[in-house]
């Protein structure tokens, strides 16, 4: 199963967006979202909104899979354990 299993059995996805403040993090409980929990659904929607906003600014998103290389993704994946977004890059 995707997601980080924490004690208590909840499964959490995380969006990490790099910025000058380090990385801003947003988590959501994918299991609760699947059963329609309003708070979890709101967290997923917020993560998707940030994802879309950062992509529009030129950021690249990577889906992290434990033990495997990162995968570049174009669309927000609520089932992802962890998504890392890096800002637009330019030649120096």
């Amino acid at each position: 199963m995707d997601g980080v299993d924490y004690e208590g059995g909840t499964t959490v996805g995380m969006l990490r967006v790099m910025s000058r403040r380090g990385d801003d993090r947003l988590t959501w409980d994918e299991q609760k979202a699947q059963v329609g929990d309003p708070e979890a659904l709101a967290a997923v929607r917020e993560a998707e909104r940030i994802f879309t906003q950062e992509r529009a600014k030129g950021a690249t998103a990577f889906r992290m899979v434990p033990g495997k290389q990162a995968q570049r993704i174009e669309k927000f994946d609520p089932m992802a354990e962890q998504i890392v977004m890096v800002p637009r890059v330019v030649g120096g």
Binding site: R21, G22, G58, T60, A70, V86, P87, V89
Partner: protein
């Protein structure tokens, strides 16, 4: 100027400096705290993204070696702090790359950025980087 007036002048400057120091500290403190918090968060992300071996390599040698996903004999040396990324092919440095985030990031985040871009987006990475051929 007599020695006594020189001593007095120095004393005056010391008193002024001591009076100003707390005010300067109050002004700078939020920035210093913010900066160290950002570096700490970036270090956490770096630790999460690297294997223990990679983390030790970065700490010990000052660079991280990232193998090319498309060219088995090529690897990239990403420096821990700001600088060029070296391209090593068949054990020889062939190129230096300069690529940076459009917005300022802590150094540890920049290492993660290079690693992710090389591993999952190498073509774009090479397209965007400015390249400097190593002639030696």
């Amino acid at each position: 100027m007599s020695p006594i007036s020189q001593v007095l002048a120095v004393l005056c400057w010391v008193i002024i400096a001591l009076a100003i120091a707390p005010m300067v500290w109050l002004v700078l403190q939020p920035y210093m705290k913010g900066l160290s918090r950002a570096e700490r968060r970036a270090s956490d992300l770096l630790r999460d993204m690297l294997t223990p071996e990679q983390f030790h390599q970065l700490a010990g040698r000052g660079y991280l070696e990232v193998p090319s996903p498309t060219e088995p004999r090529r690897l990239y040396r990403v420096p821990r702090y700001k600088g060029y990324v070296q391209v090593i092919e068949n054990g020889r440095a062939t190129m230096r790359l300069c690529l940076q985030p459009a917005e300022s990031l802590p150094d540890a985040d920049v290492v993660v950025l290079h690693k992710l871009m090389i591993e999952a987006n190498e073509e774009t990475y090479l397209q965007k980087a400015n390249k400097y051929v190593c002639l030696d």
